[in-house]
Structures are given as structure tokens and as C-alpha cells.
């Protein structure tokens, strides 16, 4: 036996204990059903380092994690929702047998971790079967839920099927404030869901998407998480994709708000033991882009409700043709498809990324954000202070202010556009 605490072959991550080779932050820190696009796309926690790096020549290293977006349906109407504006209707969702096969293929490909997410995954009547298929394949499963629809019987079924952990979203520290952002009465259901999860002994994480309307409540949010028995709290500053782009002006915080919230988080970290506080950085403010997905096609993949496979959950709008599990194996998609190869490694980069010393650290930032803001996915993410387009971000930050939130509309089939309930600052009546 060589020295079990030897540090020779490891140390990719600064704080990994000796003997552990490296840690991989999977799924990303902002994996809530309402903020799915930020999964991994954000990658930007300030404490864990996503390992991956540019793909070596030849076969890409296998993926660690999969975000399974089981449905785009969701009982909540959060204005910060980062799912695409055009949701996939329930009629186009994968069948149970498709998901069972996806789980098997994912495990064989190297996926260790799956987020069962959405939308609200509890809307899938076959969630238990899908969970069981993942668990059978040896995949660690985390349910990412709003908590709405989680009763004792349903949770018992999921635990029996092999579910490993639960991440619950909450929108603010109090029932009134949380329900106002969610656009529907849901806080009581969340509180009940947290209690049920604690009864099972499964690890419970709380996820709160932060923005102008709730950043001043960080202390109350942490107190709530402690009261509910959460072991991890992800304080995820809003990532602007999909529906959230419509509300950017009203959701972007002030620099003062952010600084105060960050200080609160630091104070809590000094006091807390056994509870992990994750602060997902808001990339509009620091001039530092987030390391997109830990590298495009490097660590994780997203399977959408209709079987589309994307390197990043925010990528729906990119001008790429995304392969589908109905047509190809996950292995082919990961290793051979053009979409997964498009921004892998660094060869696709242009200046200033190409010659930048940080190109293997942040991978030029987020491709989806570069495309959304400049129309060219190969440009440097405007969130980067070195980007020629950085002024776009600073202008947005400066123009932020109070404004009306546009609630996410209930899902409707794409062929009959839903009438918009816009301009209302009160929860939609359900």
C-alpha cells in the first residue's frame, strides 16, 4: 500500500482531501426545476471547481452527469424561469421505455449522477419507473422539485425505487413573498415536502434563485433552510436564459444588494456547521465569465422532455441541430454528434479567448449567453471584462430597475399560443 494520504496523483481541486483524486461538481449548483438552464451552465460556485478541461485528442472523456428534463410542465409561474420560451408540449414527451433506455445507456457511457428535473418531474406519472431504471443502472439520482405534488405515498414509492436525494426550490423566506414570485400558492406544499423528505432521511437541499426582489432576504432564507432541515442551500443568482430574459431588467439586482447578500452569506458560513451554503455568482457583475458547463461536452449532458440531447440546458436556442435519443444512442451523441463537438476544447475560439491564459479555466464563458447577446455563439461571453462586447453587459446592469414581472405562462400546446397574463405583479389565480 502506498501512502493513503499521499497527494501525488491528485490535487486537481485545492481543498480535496489527500487520497481523493479530484472532485467534480456535477449538475451544477443551480439545478432547480424553474432554473434548469443554469444547471452547470452556471458552474460558477465560488467553492468547488468543476474538473474537465478541454477534451483530449481522440475520444472525449465520458460524461459524469445527466440532467433529465422529464417534462416542461410546471405548476409554478416563476418570472426567472430559464427554460426556453417555447416549451415542449406534453404530447411530444418521451415515453417511459425511452427514459428507461436512456438511463441504461447513460450509465454505460459513464454517467454517475442524474438530476430528475423539469419543469416539475412529479407531473410524470411514471417518475417512479424512471427513478428505478436509473437506480438499477447504478446512477445516483436527485429529484429536483418545486415540492408541489409530493405527498407521503409518492415519496415512499420514490425512495423504494432507489431515489438518493431531493432538491427543493423555494422562492423567498416567507409564504407571502415566496408565493408572489412563484405566481401561485405553493409555499405550504414546499414546507410539507421538506418535512416528508426529512422523515425519510434522504439528504435535502434547498435551492433559491436570487434576484432584485429577494436578495435582501438572504438571512431569512438561510434561517428557513435551517428550520426545514436542509443540508445544502444553493443561493443561485439568476442566470438570464429563456423566459428569464424577458424579466432581466426587473430581476437584475443592484451592486449594493449583491454586496450585502454576499456579506450575509460569509457571516452564515462562519457560524454554520454541517450545512453547506453555495453562492452561485451573478456573472453580470464581476467581469468574470462562468466556466460554461465545465467545458462544452466535457462533464454533463441534458436530455430534454422530447429526447433532444444538449450539452447545456440553455442551448435550445443555439443554431445547432441537437440530436435525439429517439434516433441515436447517447454514446454516439456524446462522442460523434456535431452539436457536442461544436465548442469542445479550445480550437473553436477566436480572440481574445484564443490567446487568453484563462481559456482552459472558463472556456470563454457561456456559448448561449454569447449567442443571446451578440448573435454569434463563438464570440467571447460578454460577461467577460476582456470581451469586446462587455459594454452590452454593463449597459444592462446600469439600466436595471424596478419593473413589472412577466409570469411564466402555463404550458400550452405550441399550436395554440397561450394568451399572455402579462403585466401583473400579483400571483396568477389558479
Amino acid at each position: 500500500m502506498s501512502d493513503p494520504v499521499a497527494t501525488g496523483e491528485q490535487a486537481v481541486v485545492a481543498d480535496a482531501p489527500a487520497g481523493t483524486d479530484e472532485t467534480v461538481a456535477v449538475g451544477g449548483p443551480t439545478a432547480t426545476s424553474e432554473q434548469a438552464a443554469a444547471v452547470g451552465a452556471s458552474g460558477g460556485t465560488d467553492e468547488t471547481v468543476a474538473v474537465g478541461g478541454p477534451a483530449a485528442a481522440g475520444e472525449p472523456a465520458p460524461p459524469w452527469a445527466m440532467l433529465a428534463e422529464l417534462t416542461h410542465g410546471c405548476p409554478l409561474h416563476c418570472p426567472y424561469c430559464s427554460n426556453p420560451v417555447g416549451l415542449i408540449p406534453r404530447s411530444r414527451e418521451l415515453a417511459t421505455a425511452d427514459w428507461v433506455r436512456v438511463m441504461r445507456e447513460a450509465a454505460a457511457l459513464g454517467v454517475v449522477h442524474a438530476h430528475l428535473s423539469g419543469g416539475e418531474p412529479l407531473l410524470r406519472a411514471d417518475l417512479t419507473e424512471i427513478t428505478a431504471a436509473a437506480a438499477r443502472a447504478g446512477i445516483y439520482t436527485q429529484l429536483v422539485t418545486s415540492g408541489v405534488g409530493l405527498d407521503r405515498a409518492r415519496l415512499a414509492e420514490l425512495v423504494e425505487a432507489g431515489l438518493h436525494s431531493v432538491q427543493l426550490s423555494v422562492q423567498d423566506a416567507t409564504a407571502a413573498a415566496s408565493d408572489l414570485i412563484a405566481g401561485t400558492r405553493s409555499f405550504a406544499a414546499k414546507e410539507k415536502a421538506a418535512e416528508l423528505v426529512r422523515e425519510t432521511g434522504l439528504p435535502l437541499g434547498l435551492n433559491v434563485v436570487l434576484h432584485r426582489r429577494n436578495l435582501d432576504s438572504v438571512d431569512g432564507i438561510v434561517e428557513l433552510a435551517l428550520k426545514w432541515g436542509a443540508e445544502r442551500v444553493e443561493l443561485a443568482n439568476t442566470q438570464f436564459y429563456g423566459w428569464a430574459l424577458r424579466n432581466r431588467r426587473a430581476l437584475l439586482p443592484t451592486r449594493d444588494q449583491l454586496a450585502r447578500a454576499k456579506e450575509s452569506v460569509e457571516r452564515w458560513r462562519e457560524r454554520l456547521e454541517g450545512v453547506e451554503l453555495i453562492w452561485v455568482v451573478p456573472d453580470y457583475f464581476d467581469g468574470v465569465p462562468k466556466p460554461c458547463m465545465g467545458g462544452w461536452g466535457a462533464i454533463s449532458l441534458t436530455v430534454g422532455p422530447d429526447g433532444s440531447v444538449l450539452p447545456c440546458p440553455a442551448a435550445y436556442d443555439l443554431p445547432l441541430e441537437f440530436p435525439n435519443v429517439r434516433d441515436h444512442s447517447l454514446a454516439w451523441i456524446w462522442e460523434r454528434s456535431q452539436a457536442f463537438d461544436a465548442y469542445r476544447g479550445t480550437a473553436w475560439m477566436s480572440e481574445p479567448c484564443m490567446s487568453c491564459s484563462r481559456r482552459d479555466v472558463d472556456f470563454g464563458g457561456c456559448r448561449c449567453q454569447a449567442y443571446a447577446l451578440t448573435g454569434d455563439a463563438r464570440r467571447t461571453d460578454p460577461a467577460c471584462g476582456l470581451a469586446p462586447d462587455h459594454h452590452l453587459i454593463t449597459e444592462l446592469v446600469e439600466s436595471a430597475g424596478e419593473g413589472t414581472l412577466v409570469y411564466r405562462r402555463p404550458e400550452r400546446p405550441a399550436r395554440s399560443p397561450a394568451p399572455s397574463r402579462v403585466g401583473s405583479a400579483t400571483p396568477a389565480a389558479d
Binding site: 500500500m1 494520504v5 481523493t20 483524486d21 459513464g110 447504478g138 445516483y140 439528504p203
Partner: protein, 87 residues
């Protein structure tokens, strides 16, 4: 404060498993995967809540007579306990 009488166990939220695709052992937990080297995995596999640290050290000493396990194993266990991966 690792004592010889402590009976370490991998935390309930943490799974210790082999990864046949990568040929390595892993600790898997919410939002994180930790790759283990062979020695770390050998220690953790013995953390079943039944064996004391002393017993774990004795067992590994038999398997790895050349290594300074008496010093290194308790130190490693203290580190992974501080991470919350072992109780």
C-alpha cells in the same frame, strides 16, 4: 480527533461505488463526485460502522505491510470526516 475506538461509517448521503467505465472508485453525493485513489478506497471500504479505527488499521497493515498505515489512516479518516463524508 480521530480515536482508535471510533467506528467510522460512510455518511448516509454518500455512496461508495466502483466506476467500471473509468476503472476507479468514487464517493457520490448530492452535487458532487469524488474520485478515490486505490488506497483511499481500501480504507473507506472498511468504514462500515462496525470496525473501529484500530481494527481498520490492523486489517490494512496485514494487506499493506510496507506502508505507514498506523499514522496515515487516522489522518485520512479525520480529513474525510471533516468533509462530512464519513461519520
Amino acid at each position: 480527533m480521530t480515536t482508535g475506538a471510533w467506528r467510522p461509517a460512510v455518511a448516509p448521503a454518500v455512496i461508495l461505488r466502483h466506476d467500471p467505465v473509468r476503472g476507479t472508485d468514487l464517493l457520490v453525493m448530492p452535487e458532487r463526485i469524488v474520485m478515490l485513489n486505490d488506497e483511499a478506497a481500501a480504507v473507506l471500504r472498511l468504514c462500515d460502522g462496525g470496525r473501529t479505527v484500530t481494527e481498520i488499521v490492523d486489517e490494512l497493515r496485514g494487506d499493506f505491510p510496507e506502508a505507514p498505515v498506523a499514522a496515515d489512516v487516522p489522518e485520512f479518516l479525520a480529513q474525510v470526516r471533516a468533509e462530512g463524508w464519513v461519520r
